[in-house]
């Protein structure tokens, strides 16, 4: 059989991306470039949004076999780490290694602020149900208000994997927008006098307490909400590596190259799920609006509880640190500092705001645990998923 010039040319033409480029691809390429633009030039969570955007770009170059569902493709393999929920806990291992819970331990009452900010999760849940989402979907959307990327990805891949991409993008985008979203709400809910409150210096904490804290939190929380064990357990293990003083090697690796490698794989995988079919839907716009609402209500929830604590403590707690309860570490704490110092430049709230800030991480992990307890273990779904997994693995093609 002879190949003629026209045979070969038509073969090449038929395999270019142009031959199957659709409007959906073009729009998604623009969306991907927008994410990359926001990451690089607007510094929106670049460590996540840049590879998410690049993954989305690759996934939407037609015929490149780079979507999360192209079996045997490169990003398909990375996506398995999201689907089987291996990568988000490893990110949390690094987050734990990077987190100093000292300010929280010095002022444990700020844990309430991390709890109060979760009110954003539930108003959003109710809003999502009103818009017609199922309870599972609404829960995954609500957790955007937790302002915690890995938690959002973990819950979305568990309860509503078809909404993973918009939820992850909304979560990371709004985390970057915290310095714009929060200050108006914070000023609106506080009086200048409240904003001027100076807080007493934090008590130092003994090393033993810092070491025991992650162990105790793991036992208490995972006994009550077992579904949160992968996330919270890894977060606390990372923190234990940090505080125990005898595992410097593991601490260093967890907070540098391990979290970096996992971030690259996770972000590309999330990006690879951003196909036109999954992203260009009314639901995406609804999720983006609901996500904004989640952040706003979470901020307000933290602030209002901050005001309550202020009253109860006899004016010793500045309500501005309440907004840091949304987590979004450390941006939200910096916002508290900034809004406070606008009123009184000599007011240093940063360390005080770090307490509710890291409390917010625990708070949304606990919120995630409640959702898993409620919706996570239904028997039929697992069976169905097992069949799914079987089919996927045994049909895995070698790409050639």
């Amino acid at each position: 059989m002879d190949l003629t010039f026209s045979d070969v040319i038509s073969k090449i033409l038929s395999t270019t991306g142009f031959s199957s480029l659709t409007g959906g691809h073009v729009v998604m390429i623009l969306v991907a470039c927008t994410l990359i633009y926001l990451a690089i030039w607007k510094k929106f969570e670049p460590l996540l949004l840049l590879p998410i955007g690049f993954g989305a770009l690759l996934a939407n170059l037609p015929m490149s076999m780079m979507t999360s569902t192209d079996e045997g493709g490169l990003l398909f393999f990375f996506y398995q780490g999201v689907k089987y929920e291996v990568l988000p806990p490893l990110i949390f291992l690094g987050v734990g290694a990077l987190t100093d819970f000292g300010p929280l331990l010095a002022n444990p009452v700020t844990l309430f602020l991390g709890a109060a900010a979760q009110v954003g999760v539930y108003t959003t849940l109710i809003g999502a149900v009103l818009l017609g989402f199922s309870l599972q979907e609404a829960s995954a959307i609500g957790i955007i208000g937790g302002a915690d990327g890995p938690t959002s990805i973990f819950i979305a891949s568990k309860l509503a994997p078809h909404l993973l991409a918009p939820i992850a993008v909304a979560a990371y985008s709004y985390m970057s927008l915290v310095p714009l979203i929060q200050p108006p709400i914070m000023r609106w809910l506080t009086t200048p006098e409240e904003r001027k409150i100076k807080m007493a210096q934090l008590k130092p904490i003994s090393q033993n307490v810092k070491i025991l804290f992650p162990i105790v939190v793991t036992i208490v929380c995972c006994l009550m909400l077992p579904g949160v064990a992968p996330l919270l357990g890894m977060l606390m293990l990372g923190n234990l590596f940090r505080e125990c003083g005898v595992t410097a090697r593991l601490h260093e690796t967890s907070e540098t190259h391990l979290i970096n490698i996992v971030t690259i794989l996770l972000a590309l995988a999330v990006g690879s799920s951003m196909t036109a079919e999954s992203f260009l839907k009314l639901e995406t716009i609804q999720i983006i609006i609901l996500g904004l609402m989640a952040f706003c209500v979470a901020t307000a929830g933290g602030m209002l509880f901050g005001k309550i604590l202020c009253k109860i403590s006899g004016g010793k707690i500045n309500p501005l640190i309440g907004s840091a309860g949304v987590s979004a570490v450390p941006m939200a704490a910096r916002v508290s500092q900034k809004v406070g110092s606008e009123e009184d430049p000599s007011n240093f709230l940063l360390m005080h705001a770090m307490g509710p800030n890291v409390a917010g991480v625990i708070g949304s992990a606990v919120a995630a645990g409640v959702f898993i307890s409620l919706f996570g273990g239904s028997e039929p779904a697992t069976t169905h998923a097992a069949i799914d997994a079987t089919t996927q693995i045994v049909n895995l093609p070698v790409m050639d």
Binding site: V119, I126, L135, A367
Partner: protein, 90 residues
């Protein structure tokens, strides 16, 4: 969406938020107990605490202090403004 879904979501929300407050309240008391059981003790003030690296290699803080003050004298600068950190014993 029917009304029952809305009611469900409200029920779930109220209970979930209560659970969160319950869990975090338990954590607060746990922390308070921990802090009570293991209060912070200020470390005893080390008389002449020196950087471990050079000291371990036979160069103690005194040598570094001498070098630093010598250079400071020549430079007319405060000794607090710079640090010699890379002297190694051969």
């Amino acid at each position: 969406m029917d009304a029952s879904q809305l009611i469900n979501s409200i029920v779930v929300s109220v209970i979930a938020l209560s659970v969160i407050f319950l869990v975090l309240t338990i954590l607060i008391f746990t922390i308070k107990i921990l802090v009570f059981l293991s209060p912070y003790k200020a470390p005893p003030p080390a008389a002449v605490k020196t950087p471990p690296g050079p000291a371990a290699r036979g160069l103690d803080g005194t040598h570094i202090a001498i070098i630093t003050s010598t250079m400071a004298t020549y430079l007319g600068k405060s000794q607090n403004e710079f640090q010699i950190s890379n002297i190694k014993q051969l």
